[in-house]
Symmetry: C2
Subunit: 193 residues, 2 copies
DNA sequence: TTATAGACCAGAAAACGAAACGAGTCGAAA
DNA sequence: TTTCGACTCGTTTCGTTTTCTGGTCTATAA
């Protein structure tokens, strides 16, 4: 057991080193040797812990996204109304994304370089976000805040809400918007459903 | 007078030629000689009518955007409710944008190549769109559909609505979404304000 | 067996000089 | 007033060489 603990520590160290370098230099300018040096290991050693550079990058990104989604989810706890939950979920997601801001320069660059990249990312978290939103909307039906004729309509509402969220993420990522608009947009969506 | 009429005809012919080629080949693969050949003129002659290639391109794009905005505006005529107007304005804008679709491949490419391009475009139409939305919201106050505490709140609502519209445009341009979501999103925004 | 790293490879990317291209100018001519 | 051929000069493209870098293999040490 102590063996695998040590294993995890080194894996985490590599990840941390990679994250630092990715944030500073982006994916393409960061070499495996850079990461190895930063982690105080030989280059070959990295391949003992990770299959490829891509796996390292994916793990870094996934971790970041996980953190955002978890914070968004957490921000809905303790809020009684569904509308409030939706509002918080959206605001938190966007604010966190904005906060990661500079770190996500990488993402911005990567989006432009490779259109399929977003597609790939989305698959990783789309499902979870839709689950969260659906959960909230279902709650909203119980509290009479929202009404949906049937399962189809509920699904459409979920899709639309998440779609709008994505649209705003993209907007925030590629352009730069200020917080007042984020707040208002979130409230607007929450009330509009 | 007949002189300037003839002038306008040739200018229009050049524009039409340019539009065809831009749509087929994009801005960068279309040369001034291509346009001249298509318009049946010498290359130098183009410079008698337009200052630069950029001016030609801008004019083509502006014309297209004008058409979209006008159709959006028209789509609100005859609708009594402000909510209906908002909904139609958004749906029409997005559907038209989608309709121009292939033509706007250029725009898509241009956006990726030059981030400042969107900025520039936006300045051309931002003001008009905000004017239209504001007009509708003011009407919505008269019909008691919408309530705003003061001028500031109204302005924020306008900004947010237009911001969301832009976000969806970008999303539509860079990704591909289906009409059902557009409809729902428009309704959602209209009701949420 | 586990963990590490140096030596090595093949293909990708960078560097670079030469050639081609294309936006824009100018002067002449109709 | 309108048109265009000839010219320019900065940019892009292209073919080639060189460097770089992700990934593998093998040796070695604990």
């Amino acid at each position: 057991m102590r063996e695998s603990d040590k294993d995890e520590i080194i894996r985490a160290a590599i990840l941390k080193a990679a994250e630092n370098l990715f944030q500073r230099w982006g994916l393409h300018k960061t070499t495996m040797e850079d990461i190895a040096r930063e982690a105080g290991k030989g280059k070959s050693t990295l391949y003992y812990y990770y299959q490829s550079k891509e796996e390292i990058f994916d793990t870094v990104i996934t971790t970041a996204i996980d953190s955002i989604i978890n914070k968004a989810k957490d921000s809905t706890e303790g809020i009684p109304s569904a509308k409030g939950k939706i509002r918080n979920y959206i605001v938190t997601t966007l604010m966190e994304l904005k906060h990661y801001g500079s770190a996500f320069t990488i993402v911005r660059t990567e989006i432009k370089r490779n259109t399929g990249f977003l597609e790939k990312l989305r698959k990783l978290y789309e499902f979870r976000i839709q689950g969260h939103i659906r959960e909230i909307l279902v709650l909203g039906m119980a509290t009479n805040e929202y009404t949906f004729a049937d399962e189809n309509e509920l699904t459409l509402a979920v899709t639309t809400t998440v779609g709008l969220l994505h649209a705003m993420e993209l907007y925030l990522l590629l352009e730069n918007d200020d917080s007042a608009v984020i707040e208002m947009a979130a409230k607007l969506i929450a009330n509009g459903i």
